[in-house]
Structure formats: structure tokens, C-alpha cells
């Protein structure tokens, strides 16, 4: 059974007419959240602060193909009829730059302190199934029992997640095959299903109770539920790309010398765009930022990419000196290594790395080509 059908069977939905969408924002604000939601900026959907329902991307559609992203506006009222933009939730939890600690020194003493980590309580509206799946993957990494990253934890704890079932997947999406969408799986606090005239509203966690009490919605009737079910089944069926099954992907580790790695290396620029837009990639580098007086300063963690030479450099020599081994590192880790480390593949089917790759490399096609033959 699909995620949506399961939800419809176990939960009751309220109904919010589109004309009342502002009430949702108001309810979130009165519960204590600032709102962040999808808006078009620089030609792409991005999560940005917003206060008014008319700031949502009304009538916006996204067209995604390998190496290409374009938005257009059509004549309808839907706010969430697009798939995704370059960012997922990642920048909101795993910050692009994070101060890990600060030091201060004088003639005789040296001390280290953790910066204060007060983040405003934030409701993120428009979270996708793939975003939630990627969040769970990053939590498995950053919030593992016994090795919790305090900076990540502080940002995560400030979030309230309003998911929206995907009704219009992009041509680059393949979340049906990874099992992470287009309908929301678990992990949202509140979920919306957008229909032509309004939204089904679902409770996901205790945190949603205050918001739902304020909204006081009437129940959605059987006809609305049927329309939603059909819409979500269509969204799932519309996807053309597929990721091979997890057990098959483990076979990548038996193909480390496959000729396809040379083939992809001849096309890949090693730019690292794919790792920057990937919602599960977690690599970081650390650097010291001393103040001018040398007596204080901080240690900063920033996003890094396994496509850089410095990522693997030791004693002046990179372990992965060519693009072939760097692309292989990325793909084998994402699709196979994650399974050993975190119990599932690191790919959630969002297709961002396909869209934002300047030369349009499609990891589903690369994985399929590698797995098709046994060539060692």
C-alpha cells in the first residue's frame, strides 16, 4: 500500500479551503513559529521567510531535465504544484557554516567555549517526502546515539515541519523507486495534500495539536479523499526514472574497476554541484578563524565535497587524485556504503544532482550501466 493510502486509512483529515490558507500561517505564528516556505528567487524555488499566503509560488510549475531547471507561471491557484528547488531542508539543520567552538587565551590560560545556540522556532512549509527521508538519513548520521552533534541537534529541535504531498513530480524525480515519495512518509508534524480548491490537513505529531486547535477544521469528506488518492497515485505512476533496488546497488562494490567509471569520468567536471544540492551529503571541513589579536577566535565547520582534491589529501598527496575515483567514491558511498553504515541507501530520489549537474550526469543511468554488465 502506498504511503498516502496508508495515511488515509489510519488518520482523519481536516479540510482547509485555499482561500483560508492565510489562517494556517497565522496559526503557526500565534503558536510561536516564524514561517519559512517556498518562494521563487533567482529563477528557482527556495525556502525563504514568508508571512503572507500570496507569497507562496501561486501557479508556478518547475521543468527539470538533466542539467536544466526552469520555472514558469500558469493560470491556476495551486501553490505547491512543483517538485523541488536546489535546497532541501539541509541548510536549515546542517548549516553551510557553523561555529563549533570558540577559544580565548591570555598569558597563562587557554579556554574553550561552545557558542550559544539559540535558534528561532521555525515552521518550514512545503517539505517533500524526499526531504523528510533525507532528514531521517542526516539524523542517523548527526544524531546517532552516543555521537550526537550538538550544533545539528540545536537547529533540528527548533523546526516544525509542514509537509506537502507532491502532486507534480519533475522529470528528474524517482522517489517512487526509492520508496520516499511522492507522498509524505513519516517525520512531518503537519501534512497538507493540495487539491484544486483547498488542502487536506493531517496531524503528524503532538507539536501539531496547538496549531490544529487554532485552525479548528471541518473533516474532509469522502469525495475529497478519493480525489486526493487518485492524484497521489497518478503522481507516483508518472515518474519515468528509477533507481535500481538496494540489494542490486550493493553490487557496485563488486564493480570498482568497471569501464563505466572511465566513461563517466570523461564527462564529470568534478565541480561538486551534485554534493552541494544532495539532501543527504554531510561532508564538512574545519578551519581555525583567529581574531586579529590572536587571543581569541573560533573553529568553523563548512560544507565540503568529496569531489575536491583536498578532501582526501594526506602528506601532500590526494588518495583520490582523479575524477574517476572521486565520482566512484561519491556513487559507491551514496548507494552502497550508506546501506552498511545507516541501514539504507543514501539516495532519496529527489533528482537534484541530475538537474543541477552542469553536464547533466544522471546517477540512475550511471548505476544502471554499472550494474547491467559484470565487467570487472
Amino acid at each position: 500500500m502506498s504511503d498516502f493510502a496508508k495515511r488515509a486509512e489510519t488518520l482523519a483529515a481536516g479540510y482547509l479551503p485555499r482561500t483560508e490558507l492565510q489562517r494556517l500561517l497565522d496559526a503557526l505564528v500565534s503558536t510561536g513559529y516564524r514561517c519559512v516556505g517556498p518562494r521563487v528567487r533567482d529563477g528557482a524555488i527556495q525556502y525563504l521567510p514568508l508571512d503572507r499566503a500570496d507569497e507562496f509560488p501561486v501557479g508556478v510549475r518547475d521543468h527539470q531535465e538533466p542539467g536544466s531547471y526552469r520555472v514558469e507561471v500558469v493560470d491556476d491557484e495551486r501553490c505547491f504544484a512543483w517538485a523541488n528547488g536546489p535546497q532541501a531542508l539541509k541548510p536549515l539543520t546542517f548549516a553551510p557554516d557553523e561555529v563549533l567552538w570558540q577559544f580565548s587565551a591570555d598569558a597563562s590560560d587557554l579556554s574553550f567555549t561552545t557558542p550559544t545556540r539559540a535558534h528561532p522556532m521555525t515552521a518550514v512549509i512545503g517539505v517533500r517526502g524526499c526531504d523528510l527521508a533525507a532528514l531521517r538519513l542526516q539524523e542517523a548520521h548527526f544524531l546517532a546515539p552516543g555521537n550526537r552533534d550538538p550544533a545539528y541537534a540545536a537547529r533540528r529541535e527548533a523546526l516544525f515541519l509542514v509537509g506537502v504531498d507532491c502532486s507534480h513530480p519533475a522529470a528528474t524525480c524517482f522517489c517512487t523507486s526509492t520508496g520516499d515519495g511522492p507522498s509524505l512518509g513519516s517525520g512531518y508534524d503537519l501534512a497538507l495534500t493540495e487539491l484544486d480548491d483547498g488542502f487536506l490537513v493531517w496531524r503528524g505529531s503532538r507539536l501539531a495539536d496547538a496549531v490544529l486547535a487554532t485552525l479548528d477544521l471541518p473533516p474532509a469528506d469522502a469525495q475529497l479523499l478519493r480525489r486526493a488518492k487518485d492524484q497521489q497515485a497518478q503522481a507516483a505512476a508518472a515518474q519515468q526514472r528509477r533507481m535500481p533496488a538496494p540489494q542490486r546497488l550493493m553490487g557496485l562494490m563488486q564493480r570498482l574497476d568497471h569501464a563505466q567509471w572511465d566513461d563517466v569520468a570523461a564527462r564529470c567536471l568534478g565541480c561538486g554541484n551534485c554534493t552541494a544540492v544532495c539532501p543527504s551529503c554531510f561532508c564538512s571541513s574545519h578551519r581555525a578563524e583567529p581574531a586579529l589579536d590572536g587571543l581569541s577566535g573560533s573553529q568553523v565547520r563548512s560544507w565540503d565535497s568529496c569531489f575536491t582534491l583536498e578532501h582526501s589529501t594526506m602528506h601532500g598527496r590526494p588518495v583520490r587524485a582523479d575524477i574517476r575515483t572521486r565520482y566512484r567514491q561519491w556513487l559507491t558511498h551514496k548507494l552502497a556504503g550508506w546501506q552498511s553504515q545507516y541501514g539504507r541507501s543514501g539516495c532519496v530520489g529527489c533528482g537534484r544532482c541530475i538537474t543541477w549537474c552542469p553536464v547533466g550526469i544522471d546517477l540512475t543511468a550511471e548505476a544502471a550501466a554499472l550494474l547491467e554488465t559484470d565487467s570487472a
Binding site: 590560560d109 574545519h286 588518495v319
Partner: protein, 276 residues
């Protein structure tokens, strides 16, 4: 002690071991005086010099030593050069200890072979010290050590003292022996010819450049060592030390957290594979 926040440590002594290798003898300082620092031989710390950065450095002193702990460092770049300029009384930051240690419990009552080469001597010296301080607990001890140049063979008097102990064999080599009669001119792998130790009841511990360790693994397997009886200490670029930054990925393993000491049986699929 938090793995996420350094604590201050004071340099109590600085020892110049060779032209570019030095030891910092350290003690953790708390508000009420020195603090104990617990670790296992084979583990490492992230050593932070204010304003300069953090580097991964093995801990080479004895784990039962309560008064201090030692880092032996080769000055090779920005941070390690700056660490070399420090003096007693100066303070640095320490996060750790990180990673797995050598299999010292498993080796009790058994024979031990230690193979070390290149610049990779520091992590394994802690083990050698550990074994000889508790000599009676172990069977035969054999050490094969190679360095590039005779001048890199630090702690020579210690090796001479160890070599004089019963049931012990020590073979030293240098690519450039510079006329030193105690050094075989050649690589550490060539020293296997001289080795008189059976695989039956032995564990091997390896540390050094990976090409050297790969050649040593081949020698050991040919002599009947099981993959699970061969341990290696690996090195990778490290930024965090605690399994978060992703830099030390080695197949599905993190060298900082799952290693740096691994049984060969756990890494045989990737070890020696270019790009891992």
C-alpha cells in the same frame, strides 16, 4: 571530556627526537589542577593550536602513566611546524581520545610481531613500550622496523635495551643506512627474511605507508598468518575525529571511529585499492 569541545593541556616538557621529530609531554589542566587522561594505545587526539588549526596525532605514552601523556610529532606543515615552536608552559587544546586501540588484551599469552616503516613509527611505539613494560604477559616479541634515513631511527637506545631481553628479536632497516652497522640497508619488507617467529600463536601489528603494509600483509599471509591475526593502523585526512566530517571514509568504514586500528579481515576488500 567532550569529543566536541577541546580541553586545555599544558606542555610540561618538549623533547627534540630528531631534526624534525619532537615529543610534547602534556598534562590536562582543570580549574583545580591536573586532570587524568584515559586512553588506549593506538588511539589518537585532535591537537589544536590556537589560531592555526587541529591535527590528528597518536598518543604514544603508557596508558597507566597518570602524570602526563605524550605526542610525538613530525613537523611537516602549517600546524605541526607551529606546534614544533612551542615551549614548556604553553597550552594547546585536546579533543579525544578517538578511535580503536591495538588488540592488547587479545595478544596476552601470545607471540607478537610488529612491523613498522616510513614515518609511521609513532602509533606503534606506544605498543612496543606497553609490551616491554609488561614483558612477562607475552610470548616471543619480534620487531621489524624500517625508516628512510638512518637519522629517522629515533629511540635507538631503547631498541638496543629491548633487543637484549629474552625471547625477543629486533631487526632494523633504513633505505639509506649511512654506514650504520646496526641497520640493514633496504626496506622493512626485506627484513622478513631474518624473521624467526611462527604464525601459529602470533598476532601481527602493522603501521606505516600503505604500500609497505600491503607488502607485509602478503608476506604474513604466505607465512600462515590468518587475516584476523593481522592488525593495521591506517591514516586518512581527518577533520573531526568522531565520524561526522566524512573525510576519513574508507569503503563503508570511518578510519577515525571504526579504526585507525583495523583487523585486516575487516578491510581486506578495500585495502590497497587505489582511491579508497
Amino acid at each position: 571530556m567532550s569529543v566536541h569541545l577541546p580541553v586545555a593541556a599544558e606542555i610540561v616538557e618538549r623533547i627534540q627526537e630528531s631534526r624534525d621529530i619532537f615529543t610534547l609531554r602534556l598534562r590536562r589542566v582543570g580549574p583545580d589542577g591536573p586532570l587524568r587522561f584515559d586512553f588506549a594505545p593506538g588511539q589518537f587526539n585532535m591537537v589544536y593550536l590556537r589560531g592555526a588549526g587541529e591535527v590528528a596525532i597518536s598518543i604514544v605514552s603508557d596508558p597507566d602513566e597518570e602524570r602526563f601523556f605524550d605526542h610525538t610529532i613530525r613537523a611537516v606543515g602549517r600546524v605541526t611546524d607551529a606546534l614544533a615552536a612551542l615551549a614548556p608552559g604553553d597550552r594547546i587544546g585536546i579533543r579525544g581520545p578517538f578511535g580503536t586501540g591495538w588488540p592488547l588484551r587479545e595478544v596476552e599469552g601470545r607471540d607478537v610481531l610488529i612491523v613498522t616503516g616510513g614515518l609511521g613509527c609513532a602509533p606503534v611505539v606506544s605498543v612496543i613500550n606497553y609490551l616491554f613494560r609488561r614483558r612477562a604477559a607475552f610470548g616471543r616479541i619480534a620487531i621489524l622496523q624500517g625508516v628512510r634515513h638512518a637519522a629517522d631511527m629515533i629511540w635507538r637506545p631503547r631498541y638496543d635495551a629491548w633487543a637484549a631481553q629474552p625471547d625477543t628479536e629486533i631487526h632494523l632497516a633504513a633505505d639509506v643506512s649511512a654506514g650504520d652497522p646496526g641497520l640493514f640497508q633496504g626496506t622493512v619488507v626485506e627484513l622478513f627474511k631474518r624473521l624467526d617467529l611462527a604464525a601459529d600463536n602470533a598476532l601481527a601489528m602493522l603501521c606505516g605507508p600503505e604500500v609497505m603494509m600491503a607488502a607485509a600483509v602478503a608476506e604474513l599471509r604466505a607465512r600462515g598468518f590468518a587475516d584476523a591475526a593481522i592488525y593495521l593502523s591506517l591514516e586518512r585526512n581527518m577533520q573531526c575525529g568522531n565520524g561526522l566530517c566524512g573525510h576519513c571514509q574508507f569503503g563503508p568504514l570511518y578510519v577515525c571511529r571504526d579504526g585507525p586500528v583495523f583487523a585486516y579481515s575487516a578491510i581486506a576488500d578495500w585495502f590497497g585499492k587505489r582511491g579508497f
